[in-house]
């Protein structure tokens, strides 16, 4: 299977470790992984901040770069939801752009969807002997409807103790540019989220979006909590040999 990695601009720039983890995980599971070098950003920041024109241009670029692959895997629920849920609303019905989106968008998967729905595996052979809590990010929960896919994968990780996060389905307060446009509310939401995380006694907070982890992790770090944040891909890529 010819799989393209859509790294996302945030991961590419700030979290290369997540990309490396996806590559190693998918290869371990027998996939032929390609990284189309011309990829940049899905355009979510522009569209969701009100800069539709720039966003449409980036969406067009995305559909060109990722045409022709069997599957496009993104280690981000938010960016995958942008392509699958929001792209179809950006093009005029019946236009060439709409056709290109209809061609590519259904083959774009968030990582846990790809593992469970396409590769049909819930046990990726990972080992991670730590106490972990999982925050389902809004776009993965309510946009993509990932349901329990990520936690099913985590439950099969050897040594991992998964502790439930109270109020897990509540937004962490990141929201892209919301975090700087409405900093007071964003910080209040982040503070409540970190309090819930602390209550679990977890060592690691895991999520399917590094953008949300950037906000929650930045808050956890500022408060000197000692709790680490890790993308789902990095936990799933961990093996006994690598520890």
């Amino acid at each position: 299977m010819r799989v393209a990695l859509f790294i996302t601009c945030v991961n590419d720039t700030l979290f290369p470790g997540t990309g490396k983890a996806v590559v190693s995980l998918l290869r371990r599971l027998g996939c032929d992984v390609d990284f189309p070098a011309a990829q940049t950003c899905c355009g979510q920041m522009h569209v969701n901040t009100g800069y539709r024109e720039e966003g449409v241009r980036l969406a067009r670029h995305f559909t060109e770069v990722f045409a022709g692959y069997d599957a496009v895997v993104a280690p981000s629920g938010s960016c995958a939801a942008m392509v699958r849920e929001q792209y179809p609303k950006l093009a005029r019905p019946g236009s060439k752009g709409a056709a290109a989106i209809a061609e590519v968008a259904p083959r774009v998967y968030e990582l846990s969807e790809f593992l469970i729905d396409v590769l049909k595996t819930e046990d990726v052979g990972a080992y991670f002997p730590h106490r972990v809590t999982y925050h389902p990010t809004c776009h993965s929960l309510r946009g993509l409807h990932l349901g329990d896919r990520p936690t099913r994968l985590l439950r099969n990780v050897r040594g991992l103790e998964l502790v439930p996060l109270p109020g897990a389905e509540e937004c962490c307060g990141f929201g892209g540019t919301f975090a700087v446009k409405n900093p007071a509310v964003s910080a209040a939401m982040g503070a409540d989220k970190t309090r819930s995380i602390m209550d679990t006694g977890a060592e690691v907070l895991c999520a399917a979006d590094n953008s949300c982890l950037l906000h929650i992790g930045g808050t956890l770090s500022r408060q000197k909590t000692g709790v680490r944040t890790m993308h789902l891909a990095e936990i799933l890529a961990s093996t006994e040999e690598a520890q």
Binding site: I7, C9, D12, T13, L14, F15, P16, G17, G19, K20, F35, A37, A38, Q39, T40, H46, V47, N48, T49, G50, Y51, R52, E54, R57, L58, H61, Q86, K89, C138, H139, R142, G143, E169, E170, C171, G173, F174, G175, G176, F178, A179, V180, K181, N182, P183, A184, V185, S186, A187, A188, M189, G190, A191, L214, H215, G217, G218, T219, S221, R222
Partner: protein, 463 residues
């Protein structure tokens, strides 16, 4: 007299900052919204066909809005045939003029009111006061707001920002003849309000209401309430004036079946509504006037994305699940329609020329909880994003977004920008300057890696 929202200064980020730092308000809101949220979740969860009901509610409203002209004429004919008088009001001023004129014609100087969002939207109480007519709110929470010279902060529970000891203070201070021994026990507070209101019901000859639904086929109006005050207002006075937004229409009596299930479960978290009043035209000699209110609604109807907001049945489920509303409170939205639905309704009805209204489409993290609970499936995040594209943007932001777009347009540019960031990584301060200080006020910045993913791939995989 409650205060007025029109011309409120400020913007959402500033207003909400004040609310976030008010710990009593945060506590009141959290407690109240989480309680209603839980009740709603449990009564919605027990219906196996909730999603079908929700789809039906959406479909009926969509159909009605698409044929609104036809159904409005049918409604007018049915109400007129049943002895009522129908008035058409283009905007708030016209509606206020009509209602004030009708009250003046009766020679009365007092009216009782059933809780109504439409009359709050047009600020009818203020318009009546200017003509020497006193309007008495009879819904308990509305009464609390009115006595306290306050703003409503929630669609269903306008005094949600007040706790019971604050309510006791307001009653002791402002309610004529209240016992000085009044406690903050909820039954005692309710009893005090009941005694206060009873006299008004019996004395008033004119009542003003809104309506939750209007049935085009029969000309029937429907009001749902929980205290029985509505029933008193609708039946006792000699003259009844109902001010209703044109989007409150349903084609037929049968359509009510869907909405009488959707609304109570979404709104108060009840299986059935306690007091449901329905009336058709002039009943038993009562003089009945219906004022159909546009006030921007036809403009909203013309917008392909935004028009879905007109499906709203004012249940307030979106407020109760909204993490932003919970922390910002209702007043921050500067409108009688707060919360997620307000963030898409207010800018559409009022436009985005004021700083406050232009900031409303951004008053959301786009978490999608509102869409998930909306009983008529209004995709609030979709409308927010659409409004953001129409909102005025600050010049500095526009420039920054242009640069970001330019970089993202070409992967070679992106790679160069990433390498520049890597070279400067040791120079990134703990506190960022300018608008980015909003990030570092409460959060640390991540360390910029030594190498971007694309450079790592290029080095290891392309070779």
């Amino acid at each position: 007299m409650s205060a007025t929202f029109l011309g409120m200064p400020g913007n959402f980020p500033e207003n909400s900052r004040k609310a976030v730092h008010d710990s009593q308000l945060r506590f009141n809101l959290r407690k109240a919204t989480h309680t209603i949220r839980g009740k709603r979740a449990s009564v919605v969860g027990e219906l196996p066909d909730w999603q079908e009901l929700r789809a039906a509610g959406k479909a009926i409203k969509e159909h009605t809005l698409r044929n609104l002209d036809r159904y409005l004429i049918r409604l007018e004919a049915a109400v007129t045939a049943a002895g009522g008088t129908v008035h058409w009001a283009r905007d708030a001023a016209e509606a206020n003029r009509i209602v004030t004129g009708l009250v003046k014609a009766t020679g009365e100087t007092e009216v009782v009111k059933v809780k109504s969002m439409a009359t709050q939207e047009i600020e009818l109480n203020q318009a009546l006061a200017e003509q020497g007519i006193t309007a008495y709110e009879t819904d308990l929470a509305e009464l609390i707001v009115q006595l306290g010279d306050d703003f409503p902060s929630h669609i269903l529970v306008p005094a949600i920002h007040r706790n019971r000891s604050e309510i006791r203070e307001i009653f002791l201070d402002r309610m004529p003849g209240v016992s000085p021994d009044l406690t903050d026990d909820p039954p005692a507070l309710a009893e005090a309000a009941r005694l206060h209101l009873r006299e008004r019901f019996l004395r008033s000859k004119v009542a003003i209401s809104g309506a939750n639904f209007m049935v085009a086929e029969t000309g029937t109006l429907v009001v749902l309430e929980s205290e029985g005050n509505g029933r008193m207002c609708l039946t006792l006075p000699e003259t009844l004036i109902s001010v209703v937004g044109i989007e409150k229409l349903l084609p037929s009596w049968r359509d009510l079946e869907v909405f009488l299930q959707l609304l109570p479960r979404s709104s108060t978290g009840e299986r059935m509504n306690p007091y449901t009043s329905m009336w058709t035209g002039a009943v038993e000699g009562q003089d009945f006037h219906l004022v159909l209110l546009d006030n921007g609604r036809t403009d909203v109807l013309a917008d392909e994305v935004g028009r879905q907001a007109l499906r709203c049945i004012r249940c307030s489920a979106c407020l109760n699940v909204c993490p932003v509303y919970e922390r910002a409170g209702g007043h921050a939205y500067g409108s009688v329609y707060p919360g997620p639905i307000g963030a898409i309704l207010t800018p559409q009805l009022r436009g985005m020329s004021s700083e406050l209204d232009a900031s409303l489409p951004y008053a959301s993290s786009l978490c999608g909880a509102c869409y998930e609970v909306c009983p008529v499936a209004i995709d609030i995040p979709e409308v927010l994003v659409d409004l953001r594209a129409k909102a005025p943007h600050a010049a500095a932001e526009r420039a920054g977004m242009k640069v970001a777009g330019w970089i993202f347009n070409d992967h070679r540019r992106l790679a160069r920008a990433q390498r520049a960031a890597t070279r400067l990584r040791k120079l990134v301060p703990k506190r960022l300057p300018g608008p980015l200080s909003a990030w570092t006020d409460t959060r640390d910045v991540p360390e910029i890696p030594e190498e971007s993913f694309r450079d790592w791939w290029e080095r290891n995989e392309r070779a």
